[in-house]
Amino acid sequence: MGRTLFAKIWDQHRIMDLGDGTELVLIDRILLHERTGGVALQSLEVAGRRVNDPSQVFATMDHVVDTRPGRTDATLMPTGSAFIAATRRAARAAGIRLFDLEDPGQGIVHVISPEQAIMLPGLTLVCPDSHTCSQGALGGLAWGIGSTEAEHALATSSLRVRKPATMRITVSGRLPEGSTAKDLALHVLARIGAAGAGGAVIEYTGEAVRALDVEARLTLCNMATEAGAFSALIAPDDTVFAYLAGRAFAPKGELWAAAVRAWRSLASDPDARFDTELSFDAAEVAPMVSWGTSPQHSVPLGHEVPSLAQAPHDTADSHRRALDYMGLHGGAALEGLPIDAAFIGSCTNSRLSDLRRAAAVLAGRHVAAGVRAICVPGSSRVKAEAEAEGIDRVFIAAGFEWRESGCSMCFFAGGESFAAGQRVISSTNRNFESRQGAGVRTHLASPETVAASAILGRIAAPRRLAPPP
């Protein structure tokens, strides 16, 4: 019987069977950030252990760093600079490549890794961060772990893992004009629910997935953790090879040619069997927006807030709690709901193509009075490239704040946030209670929907905009 893409990668990395279904798996890359990575490095040191191979390890500053222009080590989070200092010291001591504040390679960990070809097809990559699954978009196995697991990977270049189940999600057809990878991700989540992947590795495939560029694939895989997946991946193809060629840590010359030859075999065999098979029709994917406090609480933009009977994954209690928190009721219209703020950023949607699409909506227009609008590029490189194209000027002219790269207000670490009760349209991945600040009401959407909503001051699709003056 044929093997799945996941099984091929797994088999290549299986060092030994530890018995009872647990296997010792080789880890090729370990990424760290100052929020959880510093803890892991520090704790490793205290235990008197060393990093087995520092050349496999990369660290960045993204989670607590300030993103306001002219930033320093000081953060709005009272003790944030301690995380930065601890990570910097521990990374230097361990001989790890660190993308520090001033480094042109700095940025959100899941943005800089693909951008610099730290992640490659067929690799195993781990990071103490749940959105590590994003990087499966390049055709490798990337998954989030805790700090103790990260210590294990650092110390031994391996992890003890129970082989996850597999799930194939085939998306046929083409996404309609105006629907994006973010909308597809929310569409899938709304169908299968926040626990729908049940710890499996999702392989996304089908015509609609193959048609996505690498940045859109990263957006799609990013949200697999919101379905409770172990990870997600997409078979690497020419789109991926063309994207990676020549990037900072990509293999060069003869090694590159050998690598691409090997990567071409990374696809599920036609007769491979998956534990679960799901299929979706891309033509049914409309621009989406979330209404509640879990990404599964998402509906097409024109739809109403579902009643309990229309919310298949909710108990009466969780449905009521979500509505209370969001200040909504079943049957309320989502489109037209007034917003207080708009946020474009995060490892889901802050790459150059995201900013370009948002800028196309913003060009010649201005954010509605009273709406605070913020754009935080996913990496310092994205920021520089956007500025070279003049995208920053479009955002600024439209009334957006233009920030330094980082996670920023994707999550509230104790520093800057929106105010309690404020309604925010956001290109991020989590609408959990208080995710963007205590009491903040988050509505997830694509960058273009965020941009259009910012202009109109209410939740709206770009097609609702009048032509620019």
């Binding site: 290549q12 030994m16 279904g21 700090s147 031994t156 926040a194 050998a258 104790g414």
Partner: protein, 212 residues
Amino acid sequence: MTPFTTLTAIAAPLLRDNIDTDAIIPSREITTTAKTGLADGLFAGWRYTRIGGREPVAGFVLNDPVFRGARILLTGANFGCGSSREHAAWALAEYGFRVIVAVSFNPIFRGNAVRNGLVPIELPASAIAAIAHETEGDPATRLVSVDLPAERLTISGATGYDFRLEPEAKAMLIAGLDAIDLTWRHREAIANFRAADHVRRPWVYRGQSERH
């Protein structure tokens, strides 16, 4: 890691689905790079009346005196979803929990729990509701017992439920083993595997020699 074999304790019900790690320990409560000092921040958003405050919300289960000293948490589906922060497991353990009984767990949280001596037990929603119901009213005398080697949970020696934990997690919890020590016994096998892999996939290796 503290070994775990059996435990008889008060079980506190928090029967909600999709309790995420931001809810278990909000980011704002994580103010140092240490793994400790987190118990006070556990469920802070639900437990206290004000952000950053410490005045208890009257109706929240952990603020109810009858659940003081609870070491078993009963909860819903997909517990520990969201951020991978291990602080969620650290905060639960530091507060005193040793067992989480849920309909299902997020895979990252589940791994973090086992690495920190927290036993993740999966039971059907109906069983968890029944346990909560049976202990209701007098949780301090209707105690719940967990026998990890026997993989059995019982209420005051009466109603019992079998559960399954994968052997590796079970063995590590019972012996309180450190996974790195266990794996490092195979360091030669790891080094040999990497050396052979270097020949198979030379583009993966970035040129620095092994340090050991």
